[in-house]
């Protein structure tokens, strides 16, 4: 029998700094809830909106796999490895912080906010050499199907980005009443579903925009779109690591 945990959108931690409006699915910064620290190797799921021209100045990371998924607008990234990039909706960015890097993230536009998800996973190996990667994926490849956007380093060759953790992320945008099944890749993994837009039923649980739903002790997960253009992110992660 699958185990589940439901995190409704309104129960997330919230911090509004003016230039940054951030919702935290798991404990982060000043949001501390001992019952919401991580889901398996998934440690951070932040839903950020940054004001025009503003952003995070140079700051460090280490020993985290950091995935950024822009939802609206343009995010400018610069890091201590010399990478400079702009990522926008349709792009996926992965940064293996490893032994340590510094980076900055700014809203490139002076007249529009930028909205993005920042997702951190514990790595399966500490102190690796830092690494950056970014891809642009075709929107049509996730229309009425689950498009794999993140996979482990060992299965490199997939269209998305790869990370130092046995985790797979998929995204989809669905017509109303579309149904599909997600088959987990590894026994013992769990899947954290996050609704980006619309209404989606996951394993029988009716979810709304920005709801999170964790499921484990199962081999497959059913998905049904209850609204037109519903968008879903599925994150399969090891539950023990």
């Amino acid at each position: 029998m699958p185990n589940t945990i439901l995190h409704k959108a309104g129960t997330r931690g919230h911090a509004d700094h003016g230039w940054l409006n951030s919702y935290h699915s798991f404990s982060f910064a000043n949001y501390h809830d001992p019952a919401r620290v991580h889901f398996g190797a998934l440690r951070v799921l932040n839903d950020d909106t940054v004001a025009p021209g503003r952003g995070f100045g140079k700051h460090p990371h280490d020993n985290m796999e950091i995935i950024s998924i822009p939802l609206e607008g343009d995010l400018q990234h610069e890091d201590s490895m010399g990478n400079t990039a702009i990522i926008r909706n349709g792009d996926i960015q992965a940064m293996s912080a490893g032994t340590g890097i510094f980076h900055s993230e700014f809203n490139k536009n002076k007249d529009l906010p930028v909205k993005f998800l920042q997702i951190w996973l514990f790595p399966d190996k500490k102190n690796v050499a830092p690494r950056y990667s970014q891809v642009t994926l075709k929107a049509e490849d996730r229309h009425n199907r689950l498009q794999e956007i993140v996979s482990p380093e060992k299965t490199n060759g997939q269209p998305g980005v790869s990370i130092n953790q046995e985790a797979w992320f998929s995204m989809g945008k669905f017509d109303k009443d579309f149904t599909t099944e997600y088959q987990l890749k590894k026994k013992g993994d769990g899947v954290y579903a996050f609704v980006l837009k619309g209404d989606i039923e996951v394993q029988g649980e009716a979810l709304n925009e920005r709801d999170g739903f964790g499921i484990w002790n199962t081999d497959q997960i059913s998905v049904r779109a209850n609204s037109q253009d519903a968008e879903l992110l599925l994150m399969e992660v090891p539950m023990t690591f």
């Binding site: 404990s27 982060f28 910064a29 000043n30 501390h32 001992p34 620290v37 440690r43 951070v44 700051h59 460090p60 990371h61 280490d62 020993n63 985290m64 912080a97 490893g98 032994t99 340590g100 510094f102 951190w120 514990f122 500490k126 102190n127």
Partner: protein, 103 residues
């Protein structure tokens, strides 16, 4: 109320500075840093700490050995494995360690 004394260990000097600054910015928390095992042990022998934060840069074997030394030298001290390099996880990791003690 007594300050919480924290020893942060991280081989990356700039990140260590960030971690120490962030901890010292928290009311009631005081941090000092060490960049390698030898320095850490000298500091543990010289002073008492409530928490040791083990950050990046130590290889797995060194980390295990250091944790063992910590338990021997300062058995009451909490060992916290810090991830993120002085990120938004830091305060939660420390609060989590304190809560575990109170559970």
């Amino acid at each position: 109320m007594k300050d919480l004394n924290i020893l942060a260990v991280c081989a990356h000097g700039e990140i260590l500075e960030t971690i120490v600054r962030l901890v010292n910015g928290h009311p009631g928390w005081r941090a000092v840093g060490a960049t390698d095992t030898e320095q850490t042990i000298r500091m543990l022998e010289a002073s008492e700490y409530d928490i040791i934060l083990l950050g990046s840069g130590l290889d797995a074997e060194s980390e295990v050995n250091l944790a063992g030394m910590c338990r021997k030298l300062r058995p009451q001290m909490k060992i916290v494995y810090h991830f993120g390099g002085g990120s938004g996880l830091l305060a939660n990791e420390i609060l989590g360690a304190l809560a575990a003690d109170n559970a």
